[in-house]
């Protein structure tokens, strides 16, 4: 079989997956179960004591505690931003838990038998392979068990804490550090001190500042000069505990000439009450290095009447510090009641490149305000934005993008393509592009389209035997193809399935 045929076969497999998943899920949020695990909570609310407590639980050095406290002092004086096209009831920041962790994490289990079976069941439902499940559950020696198939190193963050990182040993051999951020603060303080807050400073914005004060865990990656990370790195974030905010912090450093691909997946149980999620992701890319960062965000979106769901306020930014540095953001945003998220690229190095591929789906009462910022500072910098927004039900979907060419960014280029697809007549799509060009050798191109799902296409699919939901999923997946193709294969499958699931009930 030729290489091309292989690809077709896999792509075909992907599609069958989609269909199977749609049919087996019929009308419900797949990850909506809740794991009944004994948790340790810090008291509700946020104040300097809570900040100290989180820092203490993570056994942090004093400089880190001080860093958090100064962020907290700043946050107290800030007000929530209101410019996004999203509406939600006021959030009571004192009515949230800022720290929760499974009790079973206190003592390391010796074998799978000692692990809280509910925690294992959670991972299994999330589709994490067994070997990874063992490592994640903290089973001693699990690292040495041979793994089947393709390698993906996984870090899982369950509510506030990272519960384990797989393949640490193998990564260490390559010189790659992949661990929880709390571990990095303890074990690699020089790296954390050097880079933390240098891309998203603690003063950046309301949500980022809050995160800087109370972040409980997240992932840390350091790829040394010239190293190509030997496997995909991935993090699963899951909010389980009720009334708990999740504030994770991710820091990725790709040193000169290195390469890493990082995947992030998120789920949360169904709850009537809304839950807060305010993450910060910082990526530093040195000379000739390349980072691919992919997200499949599937937090609970709330029910069909708009009750419950995750409020997702995220600050993600990549800094192409060195010349010829490259970053590619790919995101599939299907979940959350409210999404506020603009993964950005600072193209500081000459000839650096930033790409942003996005699928944002909003159904029922979901609201998404998402996009990117491409800030061109260096000469000959290039950026490309491909955004696919899908709105259904009563949802509102906004693309908000900034392309800025600074005076020194001579001969720079941006291409933006922004397509919106509407399903039904009660939803909305909005495109808000901001463009600033402050030199005369740079060029910015912007194309935007808005269309409706075509009845003739749906009928054609149905005449061939697909039911209406399958037909919509197929047509929408076609609409998103460019972005889906930018994802690593494992995620492309999951993403296609998610597209289908998140559009359930949008037709008929």
């Amino acid at each position: 079989m030729t290489a091309l045929d292989n690809q077709t076969e896999v792509r075909d497999g992907v599609d069958r997956e989609t269909v199977e998943t749609v049919q087996s899920m019929a009308g419900t949020y797949k990850y909506g179960w809740n794991t009944d695990i004994e948790m340790d909570y810090a008291p509700k609310g946020v104040n300097t004591d809570i900040v100290r407590l989180i820092s203490g639980k993570n056994e942090e050095p004093e400089w880190m505690t001080d860093w958090r406290l100064s962020a907290y002092a700043r946050w107290e004086k800030m007000t929530e931003p209101t410019w996004a096209m999203v509406h939600y009831p006021p959030i009571d920041y004192q009515d949230q838990y800022y720290y929760a962790r499974p009790k079973s994490m206190d003592v390391k289990p010796k074998s799978l038998d000692d692990v809280d079976p509910k925690l294992l069941a959670t991972y299994e439902k999330l589709g994490i392979p067994l070997k990874e499940q063992m490592v994640l559950a903290g089973v001693e020696g699990a690292e040495d068990v041979p793994a089947e198939g393709r390698k993906v190193a996984v870090d899982a963050v369950f509510d506030s804490v990272s519960v384990g990182t797989t393949f640490q040993a193998e990564l260490k051999k390559a010189g790659v550090i992949f661990c929880s951020i709390s571990e990095a603060i303890r074990e690699h303080p020089e790296l954390v001190k050097k880079y933390l807050g240098t891309v998203v400073p603690p003063s950046d914005n309301f949500f980022a500042t809050l995160n800087s004060a109370v972040f409980s865990d997240g992932s840390f990656v350091y790829v040394p000069p010239g190293v190509r990370c030997p496997m995909e790195l991935s993090t699963y974030f899951r909010i389980n505990a009720e009334n708990t905010g999740q504030f994770e912090r991710t820091l990725i450093i790709a040193d000169k000439g290195s390469y890493v691909s990082y995947l992030e997946g998120c789920t949360a149980p169904k709850r009537d009450t809304t839950q807060l999620h305010a993450a910060v992701v910082e990526i530093i890319i040195e000379e000739d290095a390349e980072v691919k960062y992919s997200t499949v965000q599937n937090w609970y979106p709330g029910d069909e009447n708009g009750k419950g769901g995750i409020f997702n306020f995220v600050t993600k930014r990549a800094d192409c510090r060195g010349d010829r540095a490259k970053v590619m953001w790919t995101q599939v945003e299907t979940g959350s009641a409210v999404t506020w998220k603009y993964p950005s690229c600072i193209l500081r190095g000459d000839d650096s490149q930033g790409e942003f591929y996005s699928i944002a789906i909003a159904n029922n009462y979901q609201q998404a305000d998402t996009g990117t910022k491409m800030v061109h500072l260096g000469k000959n910098t290039k950026s490309r934005i491909v955004s696919k927004g899908i709105s259904a039900g009563k949802a509102q979907n906004t693309y908000r993008g900034l392309v800025s060419m600074h005076p020194k960014a001579k001969n720079s280029r941006n291409y933006t393509q922004c397509d919106s697809l509407l399903i039904g007549g009660d939803c909305g799509a909005h495109t808000v592009p901001y463009i600033e060009v402050r030199n005369n050798s740079s060029r910015v191109e912007h194309e935007a389209t808005t269309s409706k799902v075509d009845d003739d296409q749906l009928f054609y699919c149905r005449q061939r035997g697909m039911d209406e939901e399958e037909a919509v999923a197929l047509v929408v997946n076609g609409f998103c193809r460019e972005v889906l193709q930018a994802l690593p294969m494992e995620f492309a499958m999951e993403a296609q399935a998610l597209v289908a699931i998140s559009l359930e009930g949008s037709v008929g």
Binding site: D15, D455, R462, Q463, R464, G465, M466, L474, G478, F479
Partner: protein, 251 residues
Amino acid sequence: MLEIKNLHVKLEEEDKQILKGVNLTVGAGQVHAIMGPNGSGKSTLSYVLSGRGGYEVTEGAATLNGTDLLDLEPEERAAAGLFLAFQYPVEIPGVGNMTFLRTAVNAQRKARGEDELSATDFLKVIRAKAKDLQIDAEMLKRPVNVGFSGGEKKRNEILQMAMLEPKMCILDETDSGLDVDAMKLVADGVNALRDAGRSFLVITHYQRLLDHIKPDVVHIMADGKIIKTGGPELALEVENNGYADLLEERV
């Protein structure tokens, strides 16, 4: 196989009657042809039978092997064995032709309680059938009908039919836009599928297709009704004299 009785259809949105009492019975294994002037309601008939929206059946019935078609969703009709080769095949950007067909084949198999076809088996079958229709591997990967030439779209419809193995095949002007060689390919494709358990309703304007696909019965449709039914010689008569005499006869 297919039984249409006194079918009356109007547009859902306006008060326009399009089919005005169509009667038609296609027996198992038979090939029927429908000819008729532009706008007489041939495509409308095929759409109503396959369940497209926008039409309202005001009177009459249509059954496929005894099952009431008009009560079923389009996909249920498809699973029951009804296939329509579209006069204007629809483009679906971003969806690979092969992915589309595999999704369709497996949806029908599932609806009928059969096992899904594995990727490998599917590939084997589709390669062989595509080859017969001279559809190359490249075209199988391209998005459904996007950028296909008129003739390629029609051949692609026949490929879909060959893959889905329906019982009742309606071909709406599949010969339009085909060059002489492509017409032969399509006709061969149809003839290869002819068997005792499968029937065809072939809508065409030209006798030429019927040289290749020999019909058992030919119907003439005008102004929403079948006005004359006969053997293959009826098609020849239309080819030579047009519809004027036939329409005259009627009044």
